[in-house]
Symmetry: none
Subunit: 200 residues, 4 copies
């Protein structure tokens, strides 16, 4: 019966392996051979669980994405009472998470393949990005209503939050820039700017 359990775990093991290989080489240059080897099974074995390399990509993105949207909305709603603190909390969480290569892999894949698989990009936008943005926008609106924030445009404000977070991840994982600034300091500085602005 041991293999029963193994078999049940296989798809996830394969997706883990695929994630690793995709991170290293990107989708196109990834070889099914390597994914199989990394998963510890034969190449044909992969096809027992996934129809094609593209199917693997789609399944992977789905899996990585699915828990996120709900979490984001939950946090945003839970924190409506104290928008400022919640904003700081979410930015912290996002930067921490995205500093993990495996977490940043999906957005990066999306960027790389959106030209050829526009529907995947659409899926990601709908399921994750728009959800996240809506949650944040609600938070900003709550802050405005409470008088904690100026009456700014919530959508643009959300971009002002997400943008630097995204940049931090790109800087680290894509541009391999020095990491001399500790994350905590990055967040502190970024939030301070967001709240107080540049002007004296």
């Amino acid at each position: 019966m041991r293999w029963k359990r193994r078999a049940a775990a296989r798809p996830d093991e394969i997706l883990d392996a695929a994630l690793d290989v995709f991170i290293e080489t990107g989708f196109d240059a990834a070889r099914m051979d390597d994914i199989a080897a990394r998963a510890g099974i034969s190449k044909a074995g992969v096809y027992l669980y996934f129809d094609s390399k593209e199917a693997l990509l789609r399944a992977l993105i789905s899996r990585e994405i699915s828990p996120i949207a709900a979490q984001l909305t939950a946090i945003a709603e839970a924190g409506a009472a104290d928008p400022e603190a919640t904003l700081r909390l979410m930015a912290t969480a996002a930067i921490e998470r995205l500093s993990d290569q495996r977490f940043f892999a999906v957005p990066r894949l999306i960027i790389a393949i959106s030209g050829r698989f526009p529907d995947i990009a659409d899926f990601y936008r709908t399921e994750i990005v728009e959800t996240a943005m809506a949650a944040l926008a609600k938070l900003v609106t709550a802050g405005i209503d409470k008088g904690a924030f100026r009456p700014v445009d919530p959508v643009l404000t959300v971009r002002a939050i997400i943008g630097p977070v995204m940049f931090a991840a790109l800087w680290r994982h894509v541009l391999r820039g020095d990491l001399d600034i500790p994350p905590a300091k990055v967040i502190e500085g970024q939030v301070d700017l967001l709240l107080n602005g540049l002007k004296p």
Copy 2:
């Protein structure tokens, strides 16, 4: 002797073609056949000017990059007298430019292939990103010295500027999001937030 002129223009025509094809399919999925066809020459013809597909990629990135760094530094220096106006000007220019797919192609390529060609990513970071950031940081520092800005961390401030600009490009070209917000308004809102912050 018209062909002389044509011949001299060939490398650029080829790079133009390569850029188009890379935009559509990404580097790995791009076929030399397609690039040659788009350039209006034979596939073998491409190899008269470029040694390999990778060489094409490197040459393309070099070409697209070369004028930018100088421009950025020049603008930043020229505008040191009025940091706020210059910041607004640069953000406007960046968003406008990046709304052109052909301009955004290079950063996008970098993101996609940095895993396999780390030296290209390093090159891009050194030549463009760090240069741009340095120019902007100088501007911020000038503003602080002048008393126009609070004594913030210049590096983080630069990230707060670049991040939203980058996000705008990703949103448009990768995520194919709606473009209901006109660029001018995006810039205005973003700069306002940056200068005045969220707080009332």
Copy 3:
């Protein structure tokens, strides 16, 4: 103990399934998966009864063939007294039978694979075709002896009988030709021609 009986029937069920699949796709393109599925068992189950796909082919041909030779000889011998009627009877039976796709499948398989399995072709020729031809030839000879037929070459006469029968099957199953001529009429016309010839 119903399963005991089922188990005993398994090989036949598998061969039935194989026959169906071979009819649809031919031997080479047939997949063991499909055969197993059609037989209602697992793929591995097929291998409990047959060593290989080729073994399946051989067993199938054997099974389909075995009763035929004896029948043919029996009919031919029983009808020696009235050669003309017996000829008509046999032609009728042959055309009827071959109008069933499952019956024609074996000759068709033989045609398709004789190049790669010459021994199967030889087996089929020896066991079926030559037997049938011998039986028919005997009938013709009997007719000649009786004065019912002209002193023709029996072997060629047999070909003149089998040929059109074979063609009728090819026309229907391979060429998918219109079936506007009812079988009875085909037989009647064919036998009339055979007996009376073209000349007035």
Copy 4:
């Protein structure tokens, strides 16, 4: 310039090779490797001229077929004056031709693959078989009109002619039967039976 001529001949060389390999192994078991090797080029070279193995099959059948239909009709029309002699002539030609394995290959391929490529079978029926049958039927009708033949059913008569010819080819190439009867005698006997019938 030598290669110019070579290149022009390539498709035909490849089709020749494919015909050989198809004869030996059938369509499914044929390997593109073998076809390429037989044609004296690389496997990739085959794909310069044909899109796929299936395309090769279709092109081959087209090529082999195209001259035949016209020839048949021409002969039939030219011989309308003397139907009996023309019938004998055509039977002779057909049996001779089909005794060549390369000529019989196409009908044999059709038989083997008609299940999976019904449109090819339809094409063959329309272009070749129905054309041939129409030509022969016209001849028979002419004979009847002239009083040379009895008023038989022309279509069935055509089957009585084609059937034995087909059988002769099957006997030789598929069943690998002895060839003790010389073709000339086969034809003579077959035609005699057709004209004069079995009855005394």
